[in-house]
Symmetry: C2
Subunit: 352 residues, 2 copies
């Protein structure tokens, strides 16, 4: 038994999650441009090819390089262009069709003045999420960015990119649908103003729950490839659709407080958490009968404390392994830096 925290992947479930999303996109004649920031793995990237994926999405220039080196030649860096990093865009092969996001005409102009390769620019639209992008109703600003792209020497318009991250606040399929539908309605209005520009949309909750994507031409969800306990709580998936889990050794038991100490902390899981009835959970033990009494109650650097129901506490033993769904699989994978399969294979991660 491996005595340290280890991240496992179920390749069959990964393929099933990819297949479901690819089928959904195909049915609506939408281009499926999955976000690879969740897995950051060439091996898992290859699984997407089995389902016809050609264009992908990443979150950094470094990640674009990682995947273009593996033969991907149509990549969106779904992060607003960093004017200081123009030479890094240039480092990616011209054989790769590279796109990124912009929000202001000033950035388009500064980028264009330093670039030496062509680059597609999506105008990022903020659908009331409040993180990044031009507010969806601000047509004047949108038009001024598009005009700057038209005037540029190296840039061409790739369309609109829209991440409705506020679906993460939802706690049911109905709430996800409501938030996503509101965003799609506003995007429909935008589409009537700019009918020729493709619209890329795609947070995992919206893409998992919606069947009708209205004006959307492309989707770029990422987390769905693994899902995690946060997505279960949001309403995006069921527990049996989660394709990754941690194995952690049980170090000690504390009978008075029905808590178990595991080796598995913030440097393994990340400190992301989800609020469940007023308690923060940092992980969800994989039990036959899931119970809200049993959850990862706290994490420090290497320590994890699992709060247990009395019945679960009695079943757990020091020197055994406990399997735990991560709260946020993207961050857990980023920390664990490799994936193990039950038949002993090891899959790469960009950080490995």
């Amino acid at each position: 038994m491996y005595p340290f925290p280890k991240l496992f992947i179920d390749p069959d479930q990964v393929r099933s999650n990819i297949s479901d999303m690819a089928t959904k996109a195909s049915k609506s004649s939408i281009e499926f441009r999955p976000h690879f920031k969740t897995h950051q793995s060439k091996a898992i990237g290859k699984m997407f090819r089995e389902f016809g994926v050609k264009g992908i999405t990443v979150s950094s220039i470094k990640m674009a390089k990682y995947f273009s080196d593996d033969g991907w030649d149509d990549i969106t860096i779904a992060f607003p262009a960093n004017v200081l990093a123009s030479s890094y865009f240039d480092s990616i092969s011209e054989n790769c069709e590279l796109k990124t996001l912009v929000i202001s005409k000033e950035v388009v102009e500064r980028l264009d003045s330093t670039l030496t390769r062509p680059i597609g620019l999506y105008v990022e639209i903020d659908p009331d999420y409040g993180r990044s992008g031009i507010p969806i109703g601000d047509v004047d600003s949108i038009r001024s960015v598009l005009d700057a792209i038209d005037r540029s020497a190296h840039c061409y318009p790739a369309g609109f990119y829209c991440h409705a991250g506020h679906t993460y606040k939802a706690r049911s399929k109905e709430e996800v649908t409501e938030i996503a539908t509101r965003a799609l309605e506003k995007l429909s209005t935008l589409k009537t103003v700019f009918p020729d520009l493709p619209l890329c949309f795609g947070d995992t909750p919206s893409c998992s729950v919606l069947d009708d994507f209205g004006p959307v031409d492309q989707i770029s969800p990422g987390n769905f490839v693994f899902y995690d306990w946060m997505q279960v709580r949001i309403g995006s998936c069921s527990p049996n659709e989660i394709a990754v889990y941690m194995e952690c050794p049980i170090i000690e038991k504390f009978p008075d407080r029905k808590q178990v100490l595991i080796h598995g902390g913030a440097v393994h899981f990340s400190k992301d958490s989800v609020n469940i009835d007023g308690n923060l959970s940092y992980g969800e033990p994989m039990l036959k009968h899931l119970s809200e009494e049993t959850y990862v109650k706290s994490l420090s650097q290497e320590h994890g404390i699992v709060q247990c129901s009395p019945a679960v506490f009695d079943q757990l033993n020091v020197g055994e392994i406990i399997q735990i769904f991560p709260i946020h699989s993207c961050l857990t994978a980023d920390l664990m830096r490799e994936y193990h399969t039950k038949d002993g294979k090891v899959l790469d991660h960009m950080n490995g």
Copy 2:
């Protein structure tokens, strides 16, 4: 200008922080056994040698190996022994005096039955923190663990280890002192029962704030080497004692909401946060005039959003770099995996 997030260290401030703590320990004739989990760096470890440090503390067997390979030969793994990992303890040179923690006699017995090398065992005592250890008043359990150590073939008693992590809930020097003093009073009682066993104590808030350590023989704080914004809020240090900071490029500005988008997210800072007047802060911009209006309001994987006062917002420009104190320097360093100095040196991190 480096266009991506980068972690900087101020070696003079690091040495000043080490010097202060070493002097404090020396004045009280306490052994200073600093925790190296914060920096995880051989280069920074060497700075501790300048101040006479011989024994150190780490949080994992892997980290013990990292530092024993660099010549450290008196190491405490301040994590309860993992009975599945006995062979990994054996992998560390017998020339290194190795100690770790135990909480139950069962673990002592299982460990002893599989070990082939000698190991010192601290009995971990819980000073009402509630994470790990035998409750401080439970003398019977403490005695039964000590008896098991006496009966063992490979283990010897190293003393008591006590981490008063509940000082992290404090928000002033007075509160830290109150929590730490309560713990020390209880440890004094324990010391009267077991006068011959050394007592190792040491969270950063207690060690930073206390001058009189009562019954304590050894201290093992870690975070003080860098400090961070959480420690400022706790009352452990002042902002000018923080020895690390992030540099992040400013990507875009959002005038309506006085927010700035930076490249710097959860994969750089970690998702640790501190609650300041009801708002979670994920980082504190280093400004001449610190203001509670300006803080890192949210982090996603690569995005950081800095909420600004109107004056600060006007000073920040796209394409410039912003310097930010991390909330929790241990986790930020663990993610960034190397340290840069202003004169261009790069210092190692175990994850690098």
